[in-house]
Symmetry: C2
Subunit: 338 residues, 2 copies
């Protein structure tokens, strides 16, 4: 079982069986900065393409809202239902130290010692956009291995829009009294989430009031059913639940809401549309970070990105990113000396 | 006083006199997307270069922390000290509508009707990084016109790092009980701010506890005096103040802390270093959005950006961005048909 003797295809097979050691090796591989490992990583991701079994769920909210505690409670409750869980936490990087501020040791309580729960934290790496460059590929690995895959990011406002590109379902964790409706609207929070969870319902009355304000805001603030995309479910407003992650209150209701959302996605065909839109947004985001708005305009002036994506339905998103990048760079011929 | 008859130099002269109409025209000009207006905007910014009289102060914090209320109170208190105030608020854009979610009408109370207080809101425009592309140029205009210039952004974590590139002083507005120390650390908040203001001190006891936690965290969580840069003031920890923006409590102490910070910057020479670093970071950020990491590597493989900046000390940051961009694009010759 040495990593060196293992082909990307063999590694993919083990990942799909949910082998934690294989998942860890696969995550290390897709996070490897060395160019000689890149080809191997792309082979792995191609081999995993189309084999995802896990639902991708984003958990976002302000610092202190209780996201980590909620994830711990969700993991425990999902294990009780016999499902395996993969969790990716994106920590803001320190510009000074260049690494994630906090490691895994600060996170996750009871569920962390269960082999059916896999946890990995990623540094956001001081890049534009904040989400780690390898978050997409890491989620591809986890979704091949586990039934429920969560990505947790700290953030309000802009970050919801960016995490929405990586998940099927976005959960916003609100804290009671964190602000009135106007504050939520100002932060641009109402548009993206599919499910709202007002945590800390033990704070008497405040959670219920916050939930009421959120529901009112959802009636005013958005025209579609969530995730920023209109669909046939357009008139449905996303559920706003109350609970306490610390005391395990409302966790089963949250899982039921997630399941219901997935069932709706499957039934309406919105799930497929979302996956395609998400694939395009993820490729576009990666190319924008590497080649900027100028590069995007050059790459897709004649043919839109959607055409390239439709042309190669079986190769991984990361492969497409590399292929399109190589195309752009081949067109770039420095004329000046430097 | 028709805008058409006014040269960029004339407009710059009026901006420097604090003429609100001229400031509004100048802000419209630097925000103009039409290429034929770009040359005029660059002439204006060149004419304003080196004529800044205002201090640039960033105000950041989670939604609901009370940033807008605090700005209103600060503006009122600064006017009472005879200073003029310019405020730039960056609203998260809606991806759906393409505009700022909220206009000026939702913001600012008493101070907004005073001619010595100028307010403008900018849409963040769905770009990587979240901060508006024109925020830097808009601040250049405001800093030429007013004594105290504030930029307000919603955000936690990553956004502090990006706003730090645009200001001399960064204020983080915390709300009591928004989270414990670990939450602040997880969000990466402790590294950047120069001054902390724990708002809503009317919440009995909580504000004081939050301030104590922040002070403890600052002892642990950072090695330098603020703004992410080490200096001779390295052993100084940034002040953590308590107050209530709504009730006007602690506002004078906050202004005194800002003044003290500016005096320290001037005395130590750190202010000049920070301005230079900020200029470089702002140019780099703009070029990264346009040309990506690939473009940056190509542009600065032989000579670092700092050299280009040092070479042209009298031209505006925006002019340098355009000049370096033109250099990159000139090197780009598409070989393939598309």
């Amino acid at each position: 079982m040495s990593a060196g003797a293992e082909s990307p295809e063999e590694l993919a097979g083990r990942v799909c069986k949910g082998d934690p050691g294989a998942v860890a090796r696969a995550l290390n591989l897709v996070d490897d900065r060395r160019s000689e490992r890149r080809a191997e990583a792309l082979d792995l991701l191609d081999a995993l393409e189309g084999r995802a079994r896990g639902r991708r769920i984003g958990i976002t909210g302000a610092p202190g809202a209780g996201k980590s505690t909620l994830l711990d409670a969700l993991a425990t409750a999902l294990r009780a239902r016999g499902r395996t869980v993969g969790i990716l936490a994106v920590d803001p990087s320190s510009r000074k130290t260049g690494g994630a501020l906090l490691g895994d040791r600060f996170r996750m309580g009871s569920s962390a010692r269960d082999a059916g729960v896999f946890f990995r934290s990623l540094a956001a790496r001081d890049q534009l956009g904040g989400l780690s460059e390898v978050a997409g590929a890491s989620l591809d690995v986890l979704a091949a291995a586990f039934d429920s895959v969560f990505i947790e990011t700290v953030g309000v406002g802009q970050s919801e829009a960016s995490i929405a590109d990586f998940v099927e379902t976005l959960v916003f964790v609100a804290q009671p009294a964190a602000g009135d409706l106007l504050q939520f609207m100002k932060a641009g929070i109402l548009e993206w989430p599919d499910v709202f969870f007002v945590n800390k319902s033990d704070l008497e009355g405040l959670a219920a009031r916050t939930a009421t304000e959120l529901r009112a805001g959802l009636g005013l603030g958005r025209s579609s059913g969530g995730h920023g995309k209109a669909g046939e479910e357009a008139s449905d407003r996303p559920p706003v639940l109350c609970g306490s992650a610390r005391d395990g209150v409302g966790i089963d209701a949250l899982i039921d809401a997630l399941d219901a959302h997935h069932a709706t996605l499957d039934r309406s065909g919105e799930g497929i549309r979302r996956q395609q839109a998400s694939r395009i947004a993820r490729i576009e985001g990666a190319l924008a970070r590497r080649y900027g708005s100028f590069g995007l305009a050059r790459l897709f002036s004649a043919r839109p990105l959607a055409d390239f994506v439709a042309e190669d339905p079986t190769c991984s998103a990361e492969r497409l990113i590399d292929r399109l990048g190589a195309r752009f760079e081949a067109d770039f011929s420095p004329k000046s000396g430097a």
